[in-house]
């Protein structure tokens, strides 16, 4: 059995850890609120541009944009969104599992993949499994900016336009609620527009200067906004997951401290009992 002093030191060390995890929990909780606000702030843009795209896609323009045309799938691009830092429970692992399942399916069909990663953890994971990473962005911070999204996404869009890849998928985490985050995957390109309820009117825009220039820009912005949204949502997921993980860690530390205290007291009691019995034994001998 460990001596009383060692147990005391151990208790102090666990208490220190508990202080840290408790602080991290509170920090994550406040950051999560901010991240959620940012998530909601991105909605209006995404909703509006989605409406424009769905209308543009269902109207008959003289110009068919490549982003709207299905091609035979030979090579695929994947945009993977994960966190920069760890200590957020199984958030990244779950997402990687989902990504791997999908990659495995593509692999069986002989479809090669190219990956664009957001976040340190995604870069590390896809590097480790030996995937071809064509572009990456890390250190996005707690309030990501759209400027950080443009470069990596452009890389894949250019590859798509050049015919090097035939589809682009986006994998990230969905913020269901504070307790639940689920990995989700969507296809970015070819664009699958939502049905347009106004389509019955058969109206079309005046395109200025021309439908090609306008469509190029609209679809590009649309895809960027989807990726940006996923990144912002992932920050909210990260904070929520960290909050829960740290809450559990704090509770576990508390349980451990109780247990160690019990051992310490038992040890102390045993020492006293032993001393008394030694004194009594000694007195009897005299």
């Amino acid at each position: 059995m460990a001596g009383g002093k060692e147990i005391k030191t151990k208790i102090a060390s666990v208490q220190n850890t508990q202080k840290i995890t408790a602080a991290m929990e509170m920090v994550a909780a406040s950051k999560m609120r901010k991240a959620q606000d940012q998530m909601f702030a991105t909605r209006p843009y995404a909703d509006r541009i989605a409406k424009v795209v769905s209308h543009v896609a269902s109207s008959n323009t003289e110009y068919q944009h490549p982003f709207l045309i299905e091609r035979e799938l030979k090579r695929a691009g994947i945009v993977a969104v994960a966190t920069d830092r760890g200590l957020c429970g199984g958030l990244n692992t779950n997402m990687f599992k989902k990504a791997l399942n999908h990659i495995g399916e593509l692999d069986e069909k002989g479809i090669e993949i190219e990956v664009v990663t957001f976040g340190n953890k995604a870069q590390g994971f896809f590097k480790r499994i030996g995937a071809k990473i064509v572009a990456t962005a890390t250190h996005l911070g707690d309030t990501p900016e759209i400027a950080q999204v443009i470069g990596p996404v452009q890389t894949l869009l250019k590859a798509y336009m050049a015919g090097e890849i035939d589809a682009i998928y986006l994998i990230g985490n969905e913020f269901v609620n504070t307790m639940t985050q689920a990995p989700k995957m969507v296809r970015l390109v070819p664009v699958e527009p939502a049905p347009d309820e106004n389509y019955a009117h058969h109206w079309d825009y005046i395109y200025e200067p021309g439908s090609k220039e306008v469509l190029d820009q609209v679809l590009e912005r649309y895809i960027e906004s989807l990726v940006y949204q996923a990144i912002v949502e992932n920050v909210a997921c990260e904070m929520a997951a960290r909050m829960i993980a740290m809450k559990n860690a704090t509770e576990n530390a508390g349980a451990m401290i109780d247990e160690l205290n019990l051992i310490y007291n038992r040890e102390r009691q045993a020492g006293i009992t032993q001393e008394i019995s030694e004194i009594v034994g000694g007195a009897a001998a005299v």
Binding site: A41, Y45, T93, L100, I103, V134, W203, Y205, V214, R221
Partner: protein, 137 residues
Amino acid sequence: MATIQVDIVSAEEQIFSGEAHMVYAPAVMGEIGVAPRHTPLISPLKPGEVRLDMGDGKEEFFFISGGIIEVQPHLVTVLSDTAIRAHDLDEAAALEAQKRAEDALADQQSDLDVAKAKAELAAAAAQVAAIKKLKKK
């Protein structure tokens, strides 16, 4: 006087939402003025100023660094860019992202090995399960 609903949004936040008598925006082909019941129109915007005539001589100004304007008879949406965009700038950003990937992958050895990665993930999941079991004891 008739008014038209105006929404100015950027990818990062909603900037303005309300009614205006007239909207002036810097479209790529030249400044356009949009009155209520304008025919549907969609056009990219240059960096510049979106001006809203609020009636009674009141005006609101918003600076945008480019974007898209979508006009429907009773609704104008300005999808504003927050970042400064130009073809060569985008290209530079793309190249930078690619370079980061190359730097990060400098010491990557093997080819894609899905089976191995799956095994590793399964091992990690088993670890988590084992820890959970231990905790319950």
